[in-house]
């Protein structure tokens, strides 16, 4: 079991050292070294100082706002994404291809553009803001606005995670359940849900991670009121502008930790989802 043997066996093709060298150099320079710089800077802070920054009331409030809004946005997308994936894979209807293409809008649209559009749309004289303000519902400069912006930018993750699994799921299983007398909801719970669960959770995990780090869409609609609608990414940004590099690094490290944990979790879930797909002939 030497590691070198499989490399040599595959070495019919040229370009191994060139392509791997280029890749490693780029990954090191562009991705790894900057991330390591943050970790090194964080290590210089010292545990007690780090703890006092992270547990300061303003940081805790920003983290609470970020996690709450991201969780609500993910919850919305878990159901909206499931609905869209189901409708797009199971039914045929006019306008289906357009609806499918629209799911990618939040990926393609720059976040700052989405941010100003949502803000103006839901402000007191916007298309949606005007009727809503009559009913006393405020979106702009509230937690609801932060949630809305996060939900918009992370929408495609859940749909695109479930779609291939649903397409691959053999409908005869559902028909068999139906002929055995199962009702639609029971079929969904017993047949469909177990098959799509890993992909559903993986997509939701990525949507949650993306929401935690979202900045461009959120800063415009949030109003950025400390202790109310200030998100963690913005607080780190503010600390930088105040030349408080330690404060910025500490908050950034907490967000980096969240991101890496969620990356590992979603990779593991995607691996389970892929295994489920491969298990079928």
């Amino acid at each position: 079991m030497t590691a070198a043997a499989p490399i040599r066996a595959k070495r019919v093709l040229p370009g191994f050292s060139l392509s791997l060298g280029t890749t490693l150099l780029y990954v090191a320079l562009i991705i790894l070294i900057p991330v390591i710089a943050l970790i090194l800077k964080g290590a210089q802070i010292g545990p007690s100082q780090f703890w006092s920054i992270v547990t300061s009331p303003r940081t805790l409030s920003a983290l609470r706002v970020t996690v709450t809004a991201a969780a609500l946005a993910t919850l919305f997308n878990a159901f909206y994404g499931l609905l869209m994936a189901w409708v797009l894979t199971r039914y045929d209807f006019p306008g289906k291809r357009i609806l499918d293409a629209l799911m990618d809008v939040p990926f393609a649209l720059p976040t700052a553009v989405a941010g100003i559009s949502l803000t103006a749309l839901y402000s007191a004289n916007g298309w949606f803001g005007a009727p809503l303000s009559g009913t006393g519902v405020e979106i702009v400069y509230t937690l609801a606005g932060v949630t809305l912006a996060m939900a918009f930018t992370s929408t495609p993750f859940v749909v695109r995670a479930i779609q291939p699994v649903l397409e691959d799921l053999d409908p005869t299983l559902e028909q068999a359940a139906m002929t055995l007398g199962a009702r639609p909801f029971a079929i969904f719970r017993r047949v469909v849900l177990p098959a799509i669960l890993p992909a559903w959770l993986a997509g939701s995990t990525v949507a949650f991670a993306r929401s935690l780090g979202e900045f461009g869409a959120v800063v415009f609609i949030a109003g950025n009121l400390p202790f109310k609608t200030e998100i963690a990414a913005l607080l780190a940004y503010i600390r930088l502008e105040e030349y408080d590099y330690q404060g910025a690094a500490a908050i950034a490290l907490v967000l980096l930790g969240f991101a890496l944990i969620l990356l590992i979790l979603s990779n593991w879930l995607q691996f389970r989802a892929a295994r489920h797909l491969e298990a079928r002939p």
Binding site: Y26, D104, P110, A112, S117, F152, P184, F215, Y245
Partner: protein, 274 residues
């Protein structure tokens, strides 16, 4: 197809599918379409003349030029990196291969703001390399190099992620055959590999361009937002929006929205080819 079989089976009417489809349309119209349409509506709210005036504002034109320059530099570099990464990972087995794949995906899960902070802590005045850079009179942060580096970070995975799965699925038989017939490295690549991956490559490059052009969080940390100097188009939009020049902000935003819609059209066209 199976769909009709399912929906016409006894005991289940057509009411549920119709209701779900209607719900999908209504939610998408409110949630996705309205913000998209609203951008153009606001951009043209004061007529064509104002729109043209807003777009040809010198600061906006400078921002458009800077943003285009960033894309022109970053996208080819990321295409080269994406092909190299896909070639190494799809065609060879080596220790740490899966780890390398995960590392390439890191920029997807890290907030662009954190990416910006990482770069500032490396190249900024207080950063690890800051004193050395200052001693050699090199300026990376609050200048073009910083904007380029952060944009490379956030767009690094795009080409690799499109090309890699395709190369894995296609296998290497054709390339190996070409090698046995005496083709050299670049011949194999340009005659066999490139034609096979061209559509995925094109799609990855288009996505990479859209993201490079639209990047906001990371660039706003490292650019210093110097008017007429380091302001990219998304930063210029923020500036005008905060200056209460909403129509100007939406006019600038409409150019980026057009790019986003081109991406959607290209994607749909490429998917029908597959």
């Amino acid at each position: 197809m199976n769909v009709t079989a399912l929906t016409e089976a006894p005991g289940q009417g057509r009411a549920v599918p119709r209701m779900l489809i209607a719900l999908a349309f209504v939610l998408t119209a409110i949630f996705v379409v309205a913000p998209l349409v609203f951008i153009f509506w606001r951009a043209f709210a004061e007529g064509w003349a104002t729109y043209i005036g807003n777009i040809t504002d010198p600061l906006t034109l400078h921002a458009i030029a800077l943003t285009a320059l960033v894309a022109v530099i970053v996208v080819p570099i990321n295409i080269a990196f994406g092909i190299a990464a896909a070639w190494a990972i799809a065609r060879f087995r080596f220790p740490g291969r899966k780890l390398l794949m995960t590392m390439i995906e890191i920029p997807f899960s890290i907030s662009p703001i954190i990416a910006g902070i990482c770069y500032l802590l490396l190249y900024g005045r207080q950063g690890l390399l800051g004193p050395w850079l200052a001693a050699h009179d090199l300026k990376v942060m609050f200048a073009l190099p910083g904007i380029l580096l952060v944009t490379m970070f956030v767009t690094a995975p795009f080409v690799a992620r499109e090309v890699l799965p395709l190369m894995q699925a296609q296998g290497s038989e054709q390339e190996e055959a070409a090698v046995t017939l005496g083709a050299r490295g670049w011949q194999v690549f340009s005659r066999v590999t490139l034609p096979n991956i061209r559509w995925a490559l094109l799609y990855g490059a288009v996505l990479c361009t859209a993201r490079a052009v639209g990047e906001f969080g990371g660039v706003s940390v490292v650019s210093g937002s110097i008017r007429g100097q380091t302001n990219t188009l998304p930063l210029q939009i923020e500036l005008m929006f905060n200056d209460l020049n909403t129509t100007g902000a939406f006019a600038a935003a409409s150019t980026l929205t057009v790019i986003a819609m081109v991406v959607l059209v290209v994607k749909a066209a490429l998917e029908s080819r597959r």
